[in-house]
Amino acid sequence: MAAMFSQNPLMNGPNYSFNDAPRTAAPEGARQHRFDPYTDNGGSTLAIAGADFTIMAGDTRLTSGYSINSRYHPKLFKIGGTTADQKDATIVLSVVGFAADGEALKERLDAICKMYRYRHGKPMSVKACAQRLSTILYQKRFFPYYVYAILGGLDEEGKGAVYSYDPVGSYEREQCRAGGAAASLIMPFLDNQVNFKNQYEPGSGVGHALQERERKPLTRSEGEVLVKDAFDGAVERHIEVGDGLQMMVITKDGIEEVLLPLKKD
């Protein structure tokens, strides 16, 4: 399962989900199953929490190895609406990694949200949903959903909320998060552009005199531009990302969805 956690960019360059390292025989004594239940279907996701909105995004390419299986396979799913078309949903789940697990995870979470609504007569809060998602993932600790999930919505105060997960259920609320194949390409960019890491006031001095640039929450339009830029960059440098950019913006008025083109090469 080495490939599963190969999020380390130092290890193998631009972080393909498969590595191009020279082939070596399996180590002596290592036992392997003949059937590998996992595969990596590539792709990348990203989420940014704003003051009163959350932007979720993902590319729409689905790969296996060097083959593009599909140019339109969404990674973003509305969760917990009353109907199958999720018209009144307020939560979005993005999944990237092994697509079949992602699909199963989505359906399970959605079914749980629907049962919650049936039993309690009200929709689940993002916070509750986030905790439940963690439990779902951890319950399969020893045969994990190979999925990097990000859950987005608005919290009780109406603020943007983004929760990110590892495949076995560790989770955290964050300002922004990139997941999947190009996470290592996008995350530093977000650190710089969303959290203003390594940005200083020009001319404020050197050394300790340097002043950090004041942190301001992004506006929605700034966020949207940032997302598109992030993916344009990722597409350029990662073969498993491309084709289309699916973006969902969650506000108090509901969820808006847009589909933008990305390079198809």
């Binding site: 009353t82 199958a84 079914a111 629907k114 049962m115 049936y118």
Partner: protein, 265 residues
Amino acid sequence: MFRNNYDNDSVTFSPQGRIFQVEYAAEAVKQGSVVVGIASKTHAVLVAIKRNAEELSSYQKKLFPIDEHVGIAIAGLTSDARVLSNFMKQQSLGHRLTYGRNMPVRTLVDMIGSKAQINTQHYGKRPYGVGLLVAGVDDHGPHLFEFQPSGMTEEMVAFAIGARSQMARTYLEKNLEAFADCGREELIRHGLKALKESLVQDRELTIDNTSVAIVGVEKQEDGTTKPQPFMVYDGQDVSAWIESVADNQEAAPAAAEGEGMDVDS
């Protein structure tokens, strides 16, 4: 203690080939307050009278959503209804997950029919003491089913079960021809008028004791149809409908629809 020797349990036939326990269970349905259902070409409605145990207590709910395309009205033992309702919810959710479609209403109804039949053929079990009206839409359009404790399920154009429901049925029979082409609002009014027929003297429909539910199909722009999710309305939401069928209002809406109905005279 017993009326005769053949009514102790549901596994004994009387010499006439009747099973008294099942017939007694059907009596339990008549103890429940009245519910009415009607189906047209585009919609199915359920309307119900809710009861409260005493002046200050809350009203017992009568209409329950099952899935986005199905809901039920109950008359009889509420706790038995809950068992069936949960079962139906699970089945239709499972069907949606497995096939990605609305469960055909008849399939769903047949399942509770089979479930109920078992209880009428085995010692130690008792028949369900509840009757249901199941309203739903599927690829064949809107449907209304009646479910009886015997396990009998039949598709109806319109029906009423519960206390004094015969009067409502008489109303429905009289207006049978009109239902097929009714729109949503008209159908609800017919339902409420039927309901009024079954009211005890000096009782009235109020926003506290009346529930309305509706499910339907909409024509889409591309010519296909789309289900209008099952929705239950209570309280203030039903006041306009109640007013529209109030005795003194009778003339006005009828005239507006250009349809002379002289049923309540």
